[in-house]
């Protein structure tokens, strides 16, 4: 047997140990190995049970990412305790076994290191910079959705269509990420077109009054309603409002559209203000040029 601590073994001892097939599992008894495995399993199961209990008791008091962090820390501590309590008995493992384990780990890291390490580094950077948390609505690249969890190698996002997308950390870290929940308030703007003949001032008053009465449109900063453009078909009235980010169903801003836009349309129409269809009025400089085919027929 080669001691693991103390004086390093000389080459003769190593060769002897490697040739000694009966020494392949060192002095670690089957009982110690079993105890080690059982301890890890117990710690793992206990960690799951504690995580479940904490989820039941604290899910309404903590944010999902805080709860996840807490349960992970507890589970890691339990695993470390199990490891620390049983591994001294295993330290008697043979040099052969340890060498094989070491070579195996090095081989795995060597094969998959590039992507794994870059993802891990990306994950650590995300943990440090914390650009979003679980429950935030983000968009990055072609993916928009709610962050389910941030892991060491990837971020899990649930899209608006209910699909789970796993995005590698290095990809997310090197891309533009928009977080719709990072600030407590968000601004939204929308444009409605009204006819030329409609009273613009009245339309602005109606829209402003409606936005003022709406619960989730913030009082401060107050809504802006103004003529943003006069185009070929209509006078464009833009309104900008701020609302609490936590209220907003940022999934395509559907809350805003379903809650406020129908009210704006109904209120304007009730006041006789209409949103026009696109139309064209063609004027001829020379009246004689009108309907040449008709005139030719008459002649």
């Amino acid at each position: 047997m080669i001691p693991l601590a103390g004086v390093l073994p000389n080459s003769t001892e190593v060769v002897t140990a490697l040739n000694d097939e009966t020494n392949i599992v060192g002095n670690a008894s089957p009982k110690e190995i079993s105890l080690f495995i059982v301890s890890l399993v117990v710690a793992y199961v206990l960690g799951l049970a504690i995580a479940h209990y904490l989820k039941l008791k604290l899910s309404h008091r903590l944010k999902p990412d805080q709860l996840t962090l807490l349960t992970r820390v507890i589970r890691v501590i339990l695993i470390l305790i199990a490891f620390g309590a049983t591994v001294p008995g295993l330290l008697d493992l043979s040099f052969t076994i340890l060498t094989l384990i070491f070579v195996g780990i090095i081989a795995i890291i060597g094969i998959s290191s590039q992507k794994v390490i870059s993802n891990m580094v990306g994950g650590l950077a995300l943990l440090y910079e914390h650009p979003f948390a679980s429950g935030d609505f983000i968009s990055t690249g072609d993916v928009s959705g709610t962050v389910v969890s941030t892991r060491l190698f990837s971020v899990l996002v649930r899209t608006t269509s209910g699909v789970s997308v796993q995005i590698p950390n290095d990809q997310i870290y090197s891309s533009d990420v928009s977080n719709y929940h990072a600030n407590v308030a968000r601004r939204y703007e929308y444009v409605v077109g009204i006819r030329y003949k409609d009273d613009v001032k009245k339309a602005i008053e109606i829209i402003y009054g409606l936005l003022e009465d709406y619960t989730f449109v913030l009082k401060n900063p107050s809504p802006n309603v103004f003529v943003s453009d006069i185009d070929a078909d209509s006078v464009r009235v833009m309104f900008r409002i701020w609302f609490p980010s936590v209220w907003a169903d940022t999934k395509d801003d559907i809350s805003f559209q379903t809650e406020i836009l129908p009210r704006v349309k109904a209120a304007l129409e009730a006041a006789g203000i209409e949103m026009p269809y696109a139309h064209r009025e063609i004027l001829f400089a020379d009246p004689d040029l009108r309907f040449p085919e008709l005139r030719a027929g008459q002649q």
């Binding site: 407590v184 009082k219 401060n220 609490p244």
Partner: protein
């Protein structure tokens, strides 16, 4: 409306109808208010029903726990102290008591809700916003709609302060009811941009009954917060 109701529970006024029907399989709570009907079934038998005014930051959904009261500007010279009366919106909580433990059953209000932003979008907070007048004496209010806040303004700074809003943390609110719904607070101005608001917890005259704290009934793992620091100005 406010108070304790034993066993058979029913309350009716022109605006609100509350009752618990015990003839159904499970006791059915029913609220009719503002053209809306809400029904809930109680899975356990209760000892009593309590109706109290609660911290006005719960409706229509929990978005904030801060209340902002906006009022006409007040100019406060340095080292002065002035007591004013403001109004705030009332939200009504229905609790059921089981073995002396209070549990929230329903919250409703007769007052429309409005939210606002105090500070910047990146660092500020969302508040439940309410516009109040300034009164030198206790104003007459409909106790189901508005409460009275006795606010003592203290300007501890060396400059004149313009004050037109006060922000409070609901975790420190202590509501009382009786002739009216009321609470008492102080607002200490430390600089033109910073002030602290604190609920004193003293029962105002005519309001001897203490309301149930909502965060206590919900068994939140938080205690009452003493003060809230307004760091984004008072005007």
């Amino acid at each position: 409306m406010f108070g304790r109701y034993d066993r058979g529970f029913s309350y009716t006024d022109p605006e609100v109808n509350l009752q618990i029907d015990k003839t159904t399989t499970l006791p059915e709570y029913r609220r009719e208010c503002g053209g809306m009907v809400v029904t809930k079934h109680l899975a356990a038998d209760y000892d009593a029903i309590h109706i109290h005014p609660v911290e006005p930051v719960n409706l229509p959904q929990e978005i904030t726990h801060h209340l902002e009261i906006s009022f006409p500007p007040i100019v406060l010279p340095p080292s002065t102290k002035k007591k004013i009366f403001l109004t705030f919106p009332v939200e009504i909580g229905v609790f059921f008591e089981i073995h002396k433990e209070m549990n929230i059953l329903d919250i409703f209000s007769l007052v429309p809700t409005k939210f606002s932003l105090y500070g910047l979008p990146s660092t500020g907070i969302i508040t439940r916003w309410y516009r109040s007048g300034i009164f030198s004496d206790i104003p007459a209010t409909d106790l189901h709609r508005e409460g009275v806040l006795e606010l003592t303004l203290i300007n501890s700074s060396a400059t004149t302060a313009d004050v037109s809003r006060a922000v409070f943390d609901s975790y420190g609110m202590q509501l009382f009811y009786g002739d009216r719904v009321s609470m008492t607070a102080t607002m200490e101005i430390m600089s033109p941009l910073i002030a602290s608001t604190t609920f004193t917890g003293l029962p105002p005259n005519g309001c001897p009954n203490r309301s149930i704290d909502l965060y206590a009934a919900r068994k939140f793992a938080i205690g009452p917060r003493k003060s809230f620091f307004m760091e984004s100005g008072m005007a």
